[in-house]
């Protein structure tokens, strides 16, 4: 009896440490970044397009738009490709192929992001420049690379969601005379919806936070992107590019960028929670 309680306490301790770490990080970011946001004016911080930290200007609107543009497009690419792949693996692929394909896809998750960025710079950027014009470093390039990066996550979770749908639903639908596509579209997908949305939200979280690959292929121009081919800077790239030498207010502004990132991620997760709860 005593040994069980000891283990309970040990587990509680480890769980508490994990939670404490997260809480402390959040407190630290807010403590460093919030004063500057208030001093400079929260609205001005979020809506000004003028980012010139050496001259005391801290407007991060271009970076917010940059992050959102790249992420939304990446999710679209990831959703279309990933969901199709998951459907294929769940419903149409022969069992033997699934046994090979699934580990291969999971392997994609193990490739470091800097390698993705490298391939992006060497292959994708010149390709976009040649075929579509512009400098090549663009929203499009970042979205494509990020979309591919989140594929393993989206596929794996969607696949699990699709496989978790009870066989009786599928069989019942087919028995009532529905075609295979109708079963897929009207029974399988709606049943797996909460899992698929969870997959997409997780993918979005990964895309918003990705820094290394994006710095290499997005161009990092501080300007509101006006087309898919414009160079863009994301919130994460902004922090990474400038943190080496930032001090005082500049450093606080970078922490404030972290605060904004944190809030965006929180909003995304809350939306995910609501969507999942509404389903059930």
């Amino acid at each position: 009896m005593r040994r069980a309680t000891l283990i309970e306490y040990l587990l509680l301790l480890t769980a508490g440490t994990a939670v404490a770490a997260i809480v402390l990080i959040v407190i630290f970011i807010f403590h460093e970044g919030l004063p500057l946001m208030l001093k400079f004016g929260v609205v001005r911080f979020l809506t000004s397009s003028h980012w010139a930290p050496t001259r005391g200007e801290y407007g991060i609107l271009p970076m917010i738009v940059g992050s959102l543009a790249v992420t939304v497009l990446a999710i679209l690419i990831g959703a279309v490709l990933g969901l199709s792949c998951a459907l294929f693996l769940a419903e149409f692929a022969p069992r033997k192929s699934v046994q090979i394909l699934k580990p291969m896809i999971e392997l994609l998750a193990g490739i470091p992001s800097v390698v993705y960025g490298f391939i992006g710079v060497v292959v994708l950027v010149p390709l976009i420049r040649r075929l579509l014009g512009g400098p090549g470093f663009s929203v499009l390039a970042s979205a494509i690379v990020l979309g591919i990066m989140i594929l393993p996550m989206v596929i794996a979770i969607s696949l699990d969601a699709l496989n978790a749908v009870p066989l009786s639903y599928k069989e019942g639908s087919l028995a009532l005379g529905a075609t295979r596509w109708q079963t897929l579209y009207r029974v399988l997908l709606p049943s797996a919806r909460s899992g698929i949305i969870a997959a997409l939200i997780l993918g979005m979280g990964r895309a918003v936070g990705e820094t290394m690959a994006v710095i290499m292929i997005a161009g990092n121009a501080v300007r509101l992107p006006d087309s898919l081919l414009s160079p863009v800077r994301t919130l994460t790239s902004n922090i990474a590019l400038e943190m080496g030498y930032a001090s005082g207010d500049h450093q606080a502004a970078l922490f404030a960028t972290g605060v904004v990132l944190f809030i965006i991620t929180m909003i995304l997760n809350t939306i995910a929670l609501f969507t999942i709860q509404r389903r059930d």
Binding site: G219, N220, V222, S230, P231, L241, E242, G244, Y245
Partner: protein, 281 residues
């Protein structure tokens, strides 16, 4: 295999991994040098030669070999790092500001900043006014300069870069005391190497890098009719020159001093000349 056998093997494996840390050869202190990405490749080359020399000497005298770690991060990052004691030697490719002037500076080489374009670009010379107009986004197309009708892709460095600071000082300042800001849609890259790569592959690109890093893949432009070369940089006739600095907190001592002495020696300076810089002597 039973689960207790498995955990034994796991424990054995892990402790084996820990044991490998003892294989690190070095017993002497390590020297950390951080800062400018312009100076970085040259510092690495010097560290290579210095370590080779030390290894040779260690064979006979058995003195410990200093492990030298070179990191980039940019001039401003290097200055802050040496101020905070994170590294022993900081590298800078720009002059120190008033706030930073308490550091001990040791010039190790002369360098120029060269404006580069793609090999396929017919433009081969600019005036400083033209350069300012291009990099501030006023002139947007190559055909205004005799090139093809193509929109200019401007590439600049991040704000903490010493190269950018030196370039701004010499090119972006005009008659007014405030520098013209860089074009809003200029691409920002975080090292000389990255800028050079982009210019080498994009026919419409223009950027600025350290003279020592120019190679056959890009074309260096003449500025105000002066072509960048060893002689024009040394004589100062090329308009954008700067010194590479090693920075220490107070006069260098110990391992740092030994390495810096090597860098300033004829052998060290020759190595820098071989790599494309201009000697400080």
């Amino acid at each position: 295999m039973g689960s207790s056998r498995r955990s034994w093997l796991l424990a054995l494996g892990l402790s084996g991994l820990f044991g490998l840390t003892g294989c690190a050869r070095n017993n002497g202190d390590s020297l950390v040098i951080a800062g400018s990405t312009s100076v970085e490749p040259f510092a690495e080359r010097l560290a290579e030669l210095y370590t080779a020399r030390q290894l040779k000497a260690a064979e006979t005298s058995g003195t410990p070999v200093t492990e030298i770690n070179i990191q980039g991060g940019g001039s401003s990052a290097g200055i802050r790092a040496v101020e905070n004691g994170i590294c022993q030697i900081g590298m800078s490719s720009r002059a120190l500001t008033l706030a930073e002037s308490s550091l001990y500076e040791i010039p190790i080489a002369l360098d120029g900043i060269v404006i580069i374009v793609n090999r396929r670009n017919p433009v081969s010379a600019l005036t400083i006014e033209q350069a300012r107009a291009i990099f501030s986004g006023e002139v947007r197309s190559w055909d205004e300069l005799g090139g093809l009708r193509q929109s200019i892709t401007v590439i600049t460095r991040e704000e903490g870069s010493g190269t950018r600071a030196s370039f701004e000082e010499k090119v972006m300042f005009g008659e007014d005391s405030v520098p013209r800001p860089f074009a809003r849609d200029a691409l920002v890259q975080d090292s000389n190497g990255a800028v050079r790569e982009i210019v080498a592959s994009d026919p419409a690109a223009i950027g600025y890098i350290s003279f020592g890093l120019v190679d056959h893949r890009v074309r260096a432009l003449a500025l105000d009719r002066v072509s960048p070369s060893d002689s024009t940089i040394r004589s100062g006739s090329y308009p954008i020159t700067r010194r590479f600095l090693f920075l220490t907190k107070g006069p260098p001592t110990g391992k740092a001093k030994d390495f810096i002495d090597y860098v300033l020696s004829p052998e060290g300076q020759q190595a820098l000349i071989d790599e494309g810089l201009v000697s400080i002597r």
